[in-house]
């Protein structure tokens, strides 16, 4: 019996973005990453080209994250108060391909660090590691708008990925990224129409939309992940079938979401049938990551070193070209 593989014919492909810049390119990074460029649904190599693999970033905070689960203490406890040393450890010991620096300390409720403080942290981290950086604000619009321009200027030439821009607050970020040639994260609240709209609005500021990484907002396993999963699948299918306003790589704050779940943190004493806490937490994070990777996630921001190992192996396995 003849077997003819069924292949979709796509008209469009996902934008390809390179992040970070080496000395030749005007920056100080020792490596860059390139994501996107897919011409097929995730890992369906028989259907079209998948030129770049998803990459793994680890989260680093500018203040000690007091609410993180105690199991992180053994990995990061000695570097919690030193973002540069923390980032170095993530790259050199735990294999992070990018660092996601979260300027949580700028939050008026968590220390209210000044833009100058934030710039100092950025410079320290840039000096400590050679991988490309993602820099996230604190999430409070007014404060983020005070720090984004300073961060963008201080990181000039480094081709940072700055975030996040939201429908209510994207102009300052977009202008800052435009002025100093950075890429940006456009975040939408699990809503495909807002995701598309936001990309268009950012484009209207003369920002090159192929320099946008979409954050469709994922949720954690067990807490609505299927909404994010389906939005990502729809966005990717839409992108391939011709909707250029959604044809961007996607990023997900997997560690941040997964480690908020009760199942990642609850002790075995409280839930005897759930098994040991740290292994369960790692698996909660890894399962969140692996499921979203199959929906098209391009940058996976994680927390636990063991999860990095698991997710990188999964990505390598999925990137082996399968053909008919």
């Amino acid at each position: 019996m003849a077997f003819t593989p069924l292949k979709e014919k796509y008209r469009n492909k996902v934008a390809q973005i390179t992040l970070g810049a080496t000395a030749d390119q005007g920056g100080t990074r020792t490596s860059t990453v390139t994501i996107g460029g897919e011409q097929a649904l995730p890992f369906l190599h028989f259907e079209g080209e998948i030129p770049n693999k998803p990459v793994v970033a680890l989260e680093v905070w500018d203040i000690a994250p007091t609410e993180w689960n105690a199991c992180f203490e053994q990995y990061y406890g000695d570097v919690y108060s030193d973002p540069a040393a923390w980032a170095k450890k993530c790259v050199e010991e735990y294999g992070a391909e990018m660092i996601c620096l979260r300027l949580k300390g700028a939050d008026p409720d968590f220390g209210d660090k000044s833009p100058e403080d934030c710039v100092a942290t950025l410079k320290a981290v840039l000096g400590a590691v050679g991988v490309p950086l993602i820099v996230l604000g604190c999430g409070k619009y007014e404060k983020d708008n005070a720090i984004f321009p300073a961060i963008a200027e201080a990181g000039e030439g480094e081709n940072l990925l700055l975030g996040v821009g939201e429908q209510e607050n994207y102009k300052t970020l977009t202008a800052a990224a435009l002025g100093y040639k950075h890429a940006i994260i456009a975040q939408s609240p699990i809503d495909i129409n807002i995701a598309k709209q936001l990309n268009i609005l950012i484009g209207e500021m003369n920002f090159d939309t192929s320099r946008i990484v979409m954050d469709p907002t994922i949720a954690a396993l067990g807490y609505g992940i299927e909404y994010g999963y389906s939005i990502m699948q729809r966005a990717r299918f839409g992108a391939l079938t011709g909707d250029k306003a959604m044809a961007n790589p996607m990023i997900g704050n997997v560690g941040f979401e997964a480690w908020r779940a009760k199942e990642a943190n609850a002790s075995q004493d409280d839930f005897p049938t759930w098994g040991e806490q740290e292994a369960r937490g790692i698996m909660w994070e890894a399962t969140t990551a692996a499921s979203l990777i199959t929906a098209g996630l391009g940058i996976v921001v994680l927390r636990h070193p063991k999860t990095v190992e698991l997710v990188k192996k999964n990505i390598d396995d999925l990137m082996v070209p399968a053909t008919y």
């Binding site: 807490y223 908020r260 199942e263 759930w274 999925l318 053909t323």
Partner: protein, 441 residues
């Protein structure tokens, strides 16, 4: 994936005899396409047309049942490529592998205790897969018998030796285990076993093409309940094969219309779970793996639950009064809806605030705060009624309730209807931390 009205019309007599009760054959064809009429109503339809129409009405992926008695699992009968187009129906069967060289009775006993509860739902590991690692028919039979004495869940019998399979089926056939697998070497004997014993059969070729050829032959030879194992043991090839099988089945390519299985090959227990997630997300009907640690299975089973949720039906938590932390009569009281996303986000933030509290989850049929407000399901009156029903007044020694900031307008009505004092909370759950610091500490 049924036929269109026009396709059906071509198969009808086109005499417009009206005996079916409809004015024209075309109108009758349209009614058939919309499942508003039955072909029996036409007295003149030819047998040939009937066969074609029946075949088109059959599910694109055959339904296969594993197990017998109280614990059975259904595979196949799926209709979609993407869950958002409608939904996925039959949850992936998780089979935990145990070898017949191990202490199977003890393993089966431990396996049978694997029941997980979270968010008010119960998850089971569905099947125990007994692997004939010894290569010995007697040992395999004894292991299967030992497992049967310890668990009522589904059994998967893994041996490519037809004699060992025959021995095991002497004791296990009534349990309708999945016979795993028919291969090129044992094909005739395995197919004969499956059809004579009435058990489902996995068919494994060297690759997808060979697997489908074998399945077509097995079906013709009388083994009707089949499961396809494309033979791939490499992750991306398995993902590709599972995807091809689903696509071809929905297009009704011959030989593809059966449920699928995948075998996890990673060494590390955690790696096995991650590999299983890749297959589960890509249509696997059954996944066999060795990892059996509770801490690892809970996340995998949770992903299954999420993936198979009906996208059109909001998921609700049980409405009522929830306790977060060690509550006392002085603890604050929050209210929100019983839409699970909303509820769990609020619960998470309240928990993170480290202030033990009550959360009153009002029954809005599982819709969110603003939608519930607009639909008249999250109002001063419904919240006041929930306060009464849950006996909240006896649990706390105050009458203060925090409402979501988005519905501040209901404050007056709620105060009038309940006699409680309303505190308008933050618009987003992420503001709870700050709200607690400013109001309760």
């Amino acid at each position: 994936m049924g036929l269109t009205g026009l396709q059906i019309f071509k198969l009808l007599p086109k005499t417009n005899c009206k005996e079916c009760g409809v004015a024209t054959c075309m109108a009758f064809a349209m009614a058939l396409a919309n499942a508003k009429a039955s072909l029996d109503q036409c007295p003149y339809v030819s047998d040939e047309a009937k066969e074609q129409l029946d075949a088109a009405a059959a599910p694109p992926i055959k339904k296969v049942t594993l197990g017998a008695g109280d614990f059975t699992r259904t595979m196949g009968d799926e209709t979609e490529l993407f869950r958002h187009d409608k939904k996925f129906f039959n949850e992936t069967v998780i089979a935990i592998m145990v070898e017949d060289t191990e202490d199977v009775a003890a393993k089966a006993e431990a396996f049978d205790k694997k029941v997980y509860e979270r968010v008010g739902l119960t998850f089971y590991t569905d099947a125990l897969a007994i692997v004939n690692a010894s290569g010995d028919a007697g040992k395999f039979k004894a292991a299967v018998e030992a497992a049967m004495g310890k668990t009522d869940r589904v059994l998967v019998l893994c041996s490519e030796d037809a004699d060992a399979m025959a021995a095991a089926l002497e004791v296990a056939a009534d349990r309708k285990p999945l016979i795993c697998s028919a291969t090129a070497d044992n094909f005739d004997k395995m197919v004969e076993l499956a059809s004579s014993k009435g058990c489902p059969l996995a068919v494994k070729g060297a690759n997808l093409e060979e697997t489908v050829e074998m399945a077509t032959k097995a079906f013709a030879a009388g083994a009707k309940e089949l499961v396809l194992d494309s033979g791939s043991r490499q992750v991306s090839q398995t993902v590709a094969d599972l995807t091809q099988i689903r696509r071809q089945a929905l297009k009704r390519t011959k030989g593809f219309g059966f449920p699928t299985m995948a075998v996890v090959t990673a060494e590390g227990d955690m790696d096995q779970i991650v590999e299983a997630v890749s297959y589960m997300s890509n249509y696997a009907g059954l996944i066999a793996l060795k990892a059996d640690d509770d801490a690892l299975l809970l996340p995998l089973l949770s992903w299954r639950q999420n993936l198979y949720t009906d996208p059109q039906k909001p998921i609700a938590v049980e409405p009522g009064l929830k306790e977060v932390g060690e509550v006392t009569p002085d603890s604050p009281v929050y209210t929100t809806t019983n839409f699970s996303l909303t509820y769990y986000i609020v619960e998470g933030e309240v928990e993170a605030s480290k202030m033990p509290s009550y959360i009153l989850a009002v029954d809005t049929d599982g819709i969110s705060v603003l939608t519930g407000f607009a639909a008249g399901k999250f109002t001063g009156e419904t919240i006041a009624a929930a306060i009464k029903e849950t006996g909240l007044e006896d649990k706390v020694n105050h009458k203060n309730i925090v409402i979501p900031g988005g519905v501040a307008v209901i404050s007056g009505k709620l105060e009038d209807a309940s006699g409680w004092k309303v505190l308008v909370g933050p618009r987003e759950a992420s503001g709870i931390h700050k709200f607690v610091r400013e109001n309760f500490k």
